[in-house]
Symmetry: C2
Subunit: 199 residues, 2 copies
Amino acid sequence: MEINRSDISQTFINLFIGELKFTDEEFELLLSHMNLELIPRKSFYLKAGNISKQKAYINKGCTRTFTVDEKDREHIMFFSFEDWWIADFESYYTQQPARQYIQAMEDCELLCIKKCDLDRLEEQIPKLRFFFNEKKQKMIFATMNNLREVKSLTPEERYLNLIKKHPHIFQRIPQQYIAAYLDIEPPSLSRLRSRLSKK
Amino acid sequence: MEINRSDISQTFINLFIGELKFTDEEFELLLSHMNLELIPRKSFYLKAGNISKQKAYINKGCTRTFTVDEKDREHIMFFSFEDWWIADFESYYTQQPARQYIQAMEDCELLCIKKCDLDRLEEQIPKLRFFFNEKKQKMIFATMNNLREVKSLTPEERYLNLIKKHPHIFQRIPQQYIAAYLDIEPPSLSRLRSRLSKK
DNA sequence: GAAGGAGGTTAACCCGGGTTAAGAATTCAT
DNA sequence: ATGAATTCTTAACCCGGGTTAACCTCCTTC
């Protein structure tokens, strides 16, 4: 869908015009390659088996990125909110089928750009390549920290970390999904919460 | 320590001369910036708090990369063997203090190159940059798969995966370290193994 | 060959998470 | 407002991992 200029969040504009010092021409060039996708709550932006062909900026809404194991259990790798960029990292860079699902947790407005277009744009606007390289780097560090956390903390500690870092999350994400993020079953999260509230 | 040409493993030579088609001059240039470090068993190649200033090729030996949590428990992120490159990823790229330890599990011979030298060499030999970018990419995917695995598999399943993928590991790594890799205590690994052998 | 140390196993007990099912609370649709 | 559906909580039971301590190898080392 065509992007209506009035749809774009101020944060997005600040990012490119303010922080990255894009000229108006550069910004227009970028926008001309982006599409607006409206993803209704519960529908999928990406399914495992498909190829992640584009990056999407979350203009509004939030998503969960998860995998399904052999016992059909869903494991949420992370939630994404406004001002995040989403894609299946491995699939995007290898253009092989994704192993993850990305599902809208609320009605989402996504500003999307195809990999082939972005690759070309990065040639024309080096700032853009720099920006996404930085993003990539941060993504890697975040994943490693995540791994460290999952390996060394109990579900209770991870729960406490989560509410410390993202207190807002409980207003937007149903509890069963928080449980799937913590890799425990909903009854366990319930027990954990009641255990904590008694302290 | 100076590198004696006869110390270098055939695998290392095959990698640069065979696969990457380095000319003799390029290979000599690379070697002229590399040092041989001999790390005795149990001593540390890197400690948390220090900066990971170089990459090291494992010519011989193996290491474990681990973190220590608040309860002083060690969590092994991965083991590394011959023909792997080691460094604390985050520390190397940010030049900030590392959060991980790298310890020799056997007497190790490491072929080391400083970040500043490698950065300069990558300018002169683009193949080198390409090679390490590929390595970096693979490292990311491996970390993500690792995270997926830790989130979705039981310790028993992770144990079975480990012996399937690296059957040799048990000949070189004492069991208590395997337990630390699986994030369980040594008695649990013992029980798990006796449980499995009865089946 | 005795003493010490490191690595691995076993036993007993505790506790938290999985499982299942039932019930309570909320949300949603008509 | 009412009923249905979804979400969350609670209870009961099982089981696997943590903890601690004892014990058993096997290997050093003097």
